[in-house]
Each structure stands twice: as structure tokens, then as C-alpha cells.
Amino acid sequence: MENDSMRTDGVAKRLPTFPWRTEFVSDLARRSVFLASVGLLALMTNGCSSDQAQTVPVNVDLTFEPAEPMVGDSKVDLRLTDPSGNPIENAAVTLEGNMNHAGMKPSFSELSEQDPGHYSGTLEFTMGGDWFVLVDVEMPDGTTAQQQIDVPGVKVP
């Protein structure tokens, strides 16, 4: 009983779990706090404005059949045009479907060109919920573009 609430004075004065000299540790600690502060400041300034989206020189029009995708294979139609609205022919188009939750294996699909600028194929949605599709385009001249398209609320049959 006598020891249950026993206090230990001096705990904060000296923490022996560090094997190094106190002066060195104090100096290291001050430097660490300074660096951490600079890091946090950087987070607040740069991290906030971090933008992964790329400006792409293509327009992507992606539609699914059924229009509201359901779990399973969905037919995909994609129309690819340049900023002037001209169809982009002979591009290699791949889709990568991901859930917005981490830890899910992505679905991939390669689309084939049906008409000039019109590509189609299938993409498997393995689970209900919010998805996004990354459209990767490799132009005939070797340049590439990527666009992200959200596919919210994939239904469960």
C-alpha cells in the first residue's frame, strides 16, 4: 500500500536511458527541435500546396456500361481528344482502377482502339465503394499523359 502512489523526484532532471554525455545530448536535442520546427514550417507551407495532378494536353471522356458501375467487369468507353477537340489516334491507353482505401490490389486494363480516338475495353471493380481510375496515355510520338477520374459509389449487386 505504501508504494502504490509513491512519487519519484528528479525523473525529469536526468534521463539515464541516453548513454551519451548530457551536454552532447542537450545540444543534439536543441538542434533536433530546431530542425523539427523548420520541418513543420515546411510542411505547413509546401505540404499544403502539394499538388500531384498533372496538366495533360489531352481531353479524356470516360464512360462505363452500366453507367453507374457495379462490382464485376464493366465495359469502358474512352474518347481521347487533343485540346482542339481532334481525336488522338494510335495511342496506347491503359487504365488502373484503385479504391480510395489503401490496401486493395489495383485493377488494370489495356484499351483497344475501335474508331479514331475511341478506345474500349473492360475494367474489373472488385469491391463496392469509391474508386478512382488513372488513365495512362502514351502518344504515338512517345509522349505520355496521365489523368485521374473519380468513380464514386461503385454499387454492390
Binding site: D4, M6, T8, V25, A102, K105
Partner: protein
């Protein structure tokens, strides 16, 4: 039934009459001791082992923070989101099930806290009125709420901000207040781990109680101070610098019972001058059958904050899983239609109030009323609830295991391509090209595991409830047990129903 819950290798306190060495044998704990293992035991007994483990996890945390803010803002491709919401959560509950509270042992928040304490020594004691679990319970509920409201599972930036906030909160709390105030009173992850670890097979405990009975220094709680070099020093020994901390969570080893509030820091192991503290095996959930005072905690059966913590733990397990299936969106839409609300937070708050306050109050009140009726007693309902509430821990732990285990096992290998992708973003693919085809175990394999976890939880809850029902009277045990068994069964059936629903992980409200 109480006997069945007491492992055979743990001797009771009472000496056996007639045997010459009976009393001594009864006070010896003869179970398997991890600290006696050749390599692992030697490593753990090394006083810097914890710092080494913490450093590794801290390094990983810094990588996660960096990737959260500067990596791709797509959760499936971001290490912070993936490791936090899939691997870390899954590993915590699985390691607690198989061993003990090893996350707290390797907690990365403690190293910056130690460095901060070198700069600014804490001067205050934690306020008397806050020496309970309420601050941590509120934070626990807030984290669960924020997780759903802000869809943290799909947001790397906010996941990183949450990790940074944790580091800051731990450092600030422990720079201001002495001892392990953050761990004991504030940390919601710690409280979750403490409750889970009542189900662990390992416990930091005394090997031989006789040794403690003869110990004059009590270093396991006081700590070890520098040797006195003069008579004046000897007189003021308590003020001499500390060379080894004692338990900062106020758990006095000879009177410690179970894993509640134990962070596995092993300070008591290093401080004990008699090498009398070990990491010993025991029967999981054994401590839940114990009723009475525990060192550093008091009597949980008389503390409503422990009841509230268990309610958030057990009913929060169901709520957290329920929020990932379609019916929750139907419920939100229904509330929105009825109330005309078009913002999510009040609707979500209503669902949380229903799941964590109203539903538990009704169910626990009903079970306690029936128990009181069958007992023919006039015991206050709250006292009955406080006594029986710990029987909800096994089923709650089973549901957490099933839910977190599902994400962990189905996404087990996804960390490989995500790490490869992160390495590739540095300029060279030094971990190889991302192997995106790697996933995890198929759902058909994971589902039986989920059922197994929840079924074991149900059985554990029934055993604890029976034990509690039989502690104070041998009459009408089955009748006192029945309402709680029915409650556990109801929770189990609800959990099985939830786990059988197709996963529908949406971050969009009313947008479908």
C-alpha cells in the same frame, strides 16, 4: 468456472496447509519466462533494447510522414495511409493476441518526448481531477469520429497530420507533466492497447513474491538513484539523480494485476535489484476474471471511466466496422431525408450518439435489470454494469481482430509495390519495379479467420460473464449469467451480419 480461468502454472496467494514448503511454492510463479530465452531474453534485458526498437519505428514514422506530405496523394499508393490504416492497425491487434502490448514498448512517440524533456524538465503533476480515463476516452471517440467524417483512410495528408499531432501531443503533455502522463491519461492508442492486452498471453510480472516481500528498496516503483558519495547525499537520497526509472505508470509490481496500464517499457525489469521481474506467460483474459484492487488503477469495477472506456472499445468495434458497409449510407440518407440536413457531421454525430451512448445504455441497462431481478437484490444498476462490463472486452477484441485482420490479411503484400513505387520516386528503382499484382490473402481464406476471431471472443465473453456471475453467490448463477450471455450473442450476431455485408468503402456522403 473461476477455477477454469486460472492457469495451472500460477499459484494462488494463499499457502497450502500441511506442506512444509507449500507457502513458498504458492508464491512462486513457474510459468514460461520470455526474459529467460537465450537471444530474445538477453536482448530485452539489455537496457537500451527499447530505445533501439523505438528508433526503428521512429525512422519508419518519419518516412511515413515524409510520404504523407510529399508523396502521391492517393491512399493506395501512399506509405502513410497504407501502413497506418492497414498494416499498423492489423499488426497491433494480432501481436497483442499472440504476445502482448509490444506497440507501446516500441512506441515512436516516446523518443521525441525524451529529447524534449532534456530541454524542458516537467514541473507539474498531472491534475488530480484528470487522473482517470476520460481525456483518453474523449480522444478515442474523437479519432473514431474524425476517421469517418474526414475519411482519413483515403487521405494521406491528413493521416500524416494526425501522426504529427500525436508526436506533438505526446511531447507537449510529457514536457509539462511528470511521469508517463501521456501514456496513462491521454493516449487513445495506449488505452486501446491496454484494453486489448487483457487478452494477451504475456504479462510483465513478479517471479517470486517472497523476494518482493523482503525487498527494502522498492526500486521497481521508486527507480534507482545515483549512489550516495557523502553522508549528506545519503540523507537526501531521493533528490539524487535517477539512473534508472521505476514504473512511471504507478504500477507497483508485487501488487500489479494483469496488463491494464502496462506499456511493457520494462523499466521495472531494469530497476529491480533482485532480477525478480519477468515477462511471463498466462492464460489470456485471466485478469478479467479478477475482481478487486490493482496497483496504480484502484478497483476498475468501481470506476465508471473504465466502464465508459470498455463501452467505446466494444461498441466502437461494431460501429467502426458498420461504417464500411452499405447500410450506413442508407441510414445517413434516411436521417438526411427526415431532418433535411445536408451536412454530414451532425448526421454522423447522431449515429455515433446512437451507437456509443443510447444503444449501450439500453442494452446494458436491460441486462443489468434482469440480473438484478434474478439476483433478488437492490444493487444499483450502475454497480452491476460496472462489474459485468469487462465481459464485453473479449467479444469487442474479437470484432476489432476480425475487422483489422481483414484489411491486414487482404492487403498484406500491397506494402511491397507501394514501397517500390516510393523508392522509384527518388529517381532510381532501387527496390525494383512496383509489383502491383501483389495483394494478400483471398477473402475466402480471410473470412473463416474473421469468424474464428469473433467466435473465440464470444466464448471468452461468456466465460468471463459466468465467472463474474459466480463470484459473489453460488445461487442462480445461470440466471444472472443469461442476460449478459444474450447481450454477447446479440453483439456477435450483429458483428457476423456486418462482416457478411459486401464492403462498401465510400468517402462520399449523399453522393453515392
Amino acid at each position: 468456472m473461476t477455477v477454469a480461468l486460472t492457469s495451472s502454472n500460477i499459484k494462488a496467494d494463499a499457502p497450502s496447509p500441511g506442506a512444509p514448503d507449500g507457502a513458498r511454492q504458492q508464491r512462486l510463479r513457474t510459468s514460461f519466462d520470455v526474459l529467460r530465452l537465450p537471444l530474445l531474453g538477453r536482448f530485452l534485458r539489455w537496457r537500451y533494447s527499447r530505445m533501439l526498437l523505438q528508433s526503428c519505428v521512429l525512422l519508419l514514422s518519419l518516412v511515413m510522414i515524409g510520404h504523407a506530405f510529399w508523396g502521391p496523394q492517393l491512399a493506395p499508393k501512399n506509405l502513410a495511409a497504407l501502413l497506418t490504416w492497414v498494416h499498423f492497425r492489423g499488426l497491433v491487434v494480432i501481436v497483442i493476441l499472440l504476445a502482448g502490448n509490444l506497440f507501446c514498448m516500441a512506441c515512436p512517440f516516446m523518443l521525441p518526448r525524451e529529447i524534449a524533456r532534456r530541454i524542458h524538465a516537467p514541473r507539474w503533476d498531472w491534475p488530480q481531477k484528470l487522473r482517470n480515463k476520460w481525456p483518453a476516452i474523449i480522444l478515442f471517440a474523437m479519432v473514431l469520429f474524425a476517421y469517418e467524417l474526414f475519411d482519413l483512410f483515403s487521405d494521406p495528408w491528413w493521416t500524416g497530420a494526425l501522426i504529427v499531432a500525436y508526436f506533438a501531443l505526446a511531447a507537449i503533455t510529457d514536457v509539462l507533466f511528470r511521469r508517463a502522463s501521456f501514456c496513462k491519461y491521454v493516449c487513445p492508442v495506449g488505452q486501446f492497447n491496454f484494453v486489448c492486452s487483457t487478452m494477451s498471453p504475456l504479462e510483465v510480472a513478479v517471479r517470486d513474491r517472497d523476494v518482493c516481500g523482503n525487498c527494502a528498496t522498492k526500486d521497481c516503483i521508486r527507480g534507482v538513484h545515483q549512489e550516495a558519495t557523502s553522508s549528506k547525499d545519503a540523507f537526501t537520497k531521493g533528490a539524487l539523480p535517477l539512473v534508472q526509472r521505476g514504473c512511471e505508470l504507478d504500477l507497483f509490481q508485487p501488487r500489479k494485476r494483469g496488463n491494464l496500464d502496462c506499456t511493457f517499457c520494462l523499466d521495472c525489469v531494469y530497476a529491480c535489484p533482485h532480477d525478480n521481474v519477468g515477462i511471463l506467460t498466462r492464460l489470456p483474459a485471466e485478469e478479467l476474471a479478477y475482481e478487486g484492487t490493482r496497483s496504480g488503477i484502484g478497483t476498475p469495477e468501481r470506476r465508471f471511466d473504465f466502464t465508459a472506456l470498455t463501452i467505446v472499445f466494444a461498441f466502437g468495434a461494431l460501429l467502426n466496422a458498420f461504417a464500411m458497409i452499405s447500410p450506413v449510407y442508407a441510414a445517413e440518407r434516411w436521417i438526411a431525408d427526415v431532418t433535411g440536413l445536408r451536412t454530414e457531421w451532425p448526421i454522423l454525430a447522431a449515429i455515433f450518439a446512437l451507437a456509443l451512448v443510447i444503444e449501450p445504455a439500453l442494452l446494458l441497462g436491460a441486462a443489468a435489470s434482469l440480473t438484478r431481478f434474478f439476483s433478488r437484490s437492490d444493487t444499483p444498476l450502475l454497480s452491476i454494469i460496472n462489474r459485468y462490463i469487462r465481459s464485453l472486452i473479449p467479444i469487442g477484441f474479437g470484432v476489432w481482430l476480425a475487422h483489422y485482420g481483414f484489411h491486414f490479411f487482404t492487403g498484406l503484400l500491397t506494402v511491397i509495390p507501394v514501397a517500390q513505387n516510393a523508392a522509384k520516386s527518388t529517381g532510381t528503382a532501387w527496390l525494383g519495379q512496383p509489383q502491383w499484382q501483389l495483394g494478400g490473402l483471398p477473402e475466402t481464406v480471410v473470412y473463416p479467420l474473421e469468424l474464428g476471431f469473433m467466435s473465440l471472443g464470444l466464448i471468452g465473453s461468456w466465460m468471463i460473464a459466468w465467472s463474474i456471475a459466480s463470484q459473489r453467490s453460488s445461487n442462480r448463477i445461470a440466471l444472472r449469467f443469461a442476460p449478459w450471455a444474450a447481450l454477447h450473442l446479440l453483439l456477435y450476431v450483429s458483428a457476423v451480419w456486418i462482416m457478411n455485408q459486401p464492403m462498401d468503402m465510400r468517402g462520399t456522403f449523399l453522393g453515392g
